[in-house]
Symmetry: C2
Subunit: 372 residues, 2 copies
């Protein structure tokens, strides 16, 4: 049988909902020869990754590390370690990823209470307040940056209510981390997960997570074993922390190299400068899209800078235009998910894909395509 | 705060239980700029990976692909998709990874029946026969290559018994795949998982799996949802197969690049030549270690070529010598796990780490160290 051809993908500009473009230094880090997952030099790299993730999450949480799988596994890690069968969980839903949280709650055998807002709108704290009067959840979960709709969810007011109700506060920051403020300690977040392939601009494959003392306490008080062996933090903690690093599973060495280098790049730029860059390029894109007649899905005050959801104009065919952008311009943008399929485009300006040049290229390409 | 130093690990020779040395072409593949996980070009790469994995597993199973996490997640994928609460499962245990299977069965809420053999010895088919007279398991699980002890488990006779009992046959080939024959179809294996960081010589982070028609049928007859969202094959199948590739989670693009290139290297060498290379270098190592007075844990007819477990000689300090090998020679070998901790070394000759030069370097280093 013949062998396959050499790997030869076309160079793309990644302006969808992730993965985003990866910096050449991160690509180079991926090509670093491997050392063992118990090598003292690797332990030092792990420690540096934990330190940098704490700075990024703006937390002092000891239990902060990247889960060895993509963002959805980080979500599952949070739910399966914090919930036991019979527990109650309140989930705020205004898009695909809120729904995914509900699915996780049910698979844990926990009782689900939902608070729903229309897609494209944030959750109103008053809704959470009302719901908390009728249930006593162990945790309340919400998405900070809904990748399916482009909504940035304010968290502080809801966090206060959650803590007054004696619950843990669980937040999805897959799309926000590294592109806008995520203040885990100041905002009273007890469990948080993210992904590497969005504003961190590393390849997909890891999910940074962090847990407060309260969350760790809840894990230690469990009466049942965590239903997932692979994601059981009672064991994983012994590999990522402590003096003896006990083998649990073989760490994805090269992926951790990539995260190490992506985090270095973030701190070389500085968090404030990075967030400002995301705001500025979002502004440039917004103005350009406005001039082309596009309408945003989300009201101005709740728009994510890194994920721009716009309505597909009347008479424009979704798949045709995205295929054209990919084939003729090597630009990838994202289609709509769930109830937004065929109706919305999702334009990402994440990490290394968030530059004036990316914005200008996309706007020029759209102008040319829409003239035809 | 200062930024971390540049990534600069020492170059090592990886002769432990994995990760193994990675070919420069695979490292280079990891540095390939990313394309999107729904890009038609990426779909073609996925299809090629599936085809090559089928050739490697020697199977025609449609449902053959790499799980987006390490080998232990592949194990969990098999158990959580095939077992439901109340099902019965028979697990053969003669080392750490058999025990891990038992843990998985229990977390699925299934009833566990164990067959145990002493560590370092294979499971006797007569034991399985006897056990099958007292239970009616939905599946029987066994480890083909026990990484904790170095035992190669013969499978064909046990497979026949399992099928006569109407059960599914689940096999761990994490350490064997790519280094010795794994004939999924001929041996009647219904569910199989492996890892990329052993004899495939790709970085850790993916777990190739394959499922027979019978296994898929059992999944389709489930009455309950799979307890893991991330590993639920009823959804993952729609991304890896079928005409429409439905988004489930963002695929680890760079890791799949690395597997693509590692598989190309395997078929350029040829499976038979590759297996013969593993046998020949095992022989060279065995003779050299024998001359140095080392004893193997496993009887000759059941020894894995790629994972050589030897007793640590009287008067030799485990940690000191392994540290010395690492610091002075940059050679990593593995310590013992579980009941073999401090008593056994595990010397890997896997994939790119399986060369005459690796064997000669290690033997020479051991000779020099043991003279001191």
């Amino acid at each position: 049988m013949p062998t396959e051809n050499q790997l030869n993908p076309t160079a793309r500009f990644l302006m969808g909902p992730g993965p985003s473009d990866v910096h050449p230094r991160v690509l180079k880090a991926m090509a670093t020869p491997l050392i063992g997952h118990l090598d003292p030099q690797f332990i030092r790299i792990m420690d540096a990754v934990k330190d940098m993730l704490r700075r990024l999450f703006q937390t002092r949480n000891e239990l902060t590390f990247p889960v060895s799988a993509t963002g959805s596994a980080g979500m599952e890690t949070c739910f399966v370690n914090l919930l036991e069968p019979g527990d109650e969980a309140l989930v705020c839903v205004n898009g695909v990823f809120g729904n995914r949280m509900c699915d996780n709650v049910e698979r844990c055998g926990a009782k689900l209470v939902r608070v729903d807002a229309p897609w494209g709108r944030p959750i109103d704290p008053a809704q959470v307040k009302q719901a908390l009067q009728k249930c006593s959840p162990k945790l309340v979960a919400i998405v900070h940056a809904e990748t399916s709709t482009g909504v940035l969810q304010p968290l502080e007011e809801i966090s206060r209510m959650v803590h007054e109700a004696g619950a843990l506060f669980l937040v999805d920051t897959v799309t926000s981390l590294g592109g806008t403020e995520v203040k885990v300690d100041d905002w009273g977040i007890d469990a948080v997960y993210s992904g590497t392939q969005k504003c961190l601009s590393a390849p997909p494959g890891l999910s940074p997570v962090s847990f407060s003392v309260g969350a760790v306490d809840a894990m230690e008080k469990r009466k049942t074993r965590v239903q997932s062996w692979y994601l059981d933090l009672s064991m994983i903690r012994k590999y990522w922390s402590g003096e003896k690093r006990l083998y649990h599973h073989t760490a994805p060495v090269s992926m951790i190299y990539s995260l190490y280098e992506a985090l270095r790049l973030i701190f070389e730029e500085g968090l404030d400068a990075r967030f400002e860059r995301h705001r500025q390029n979002h502004k440039l894109l917004r103005e350009g899209l406005g001039a082309l007649g596009f309408e945003f899905v989300v009201a101005p005050e709740y728009r994510l800078p890194m994920l721009n959801a716009v309505k597909i104009p009347e008479g424009v065919d979704d798949a045709t235009v995205r295929q054209w952008l990919l084939d003729e311009y090597n630009i990838e943008i994202g289609g709509g998910l769930g109830e937004f399929a065929g109706k919305v485009w999702r334009i990402g300006l994440m990490g290394c894909s968030c530059t004036k040049n990316h914005v200008n290229m996309l706007l020029a390409a759209l102008r040319q395509i829409m003239k035809q």
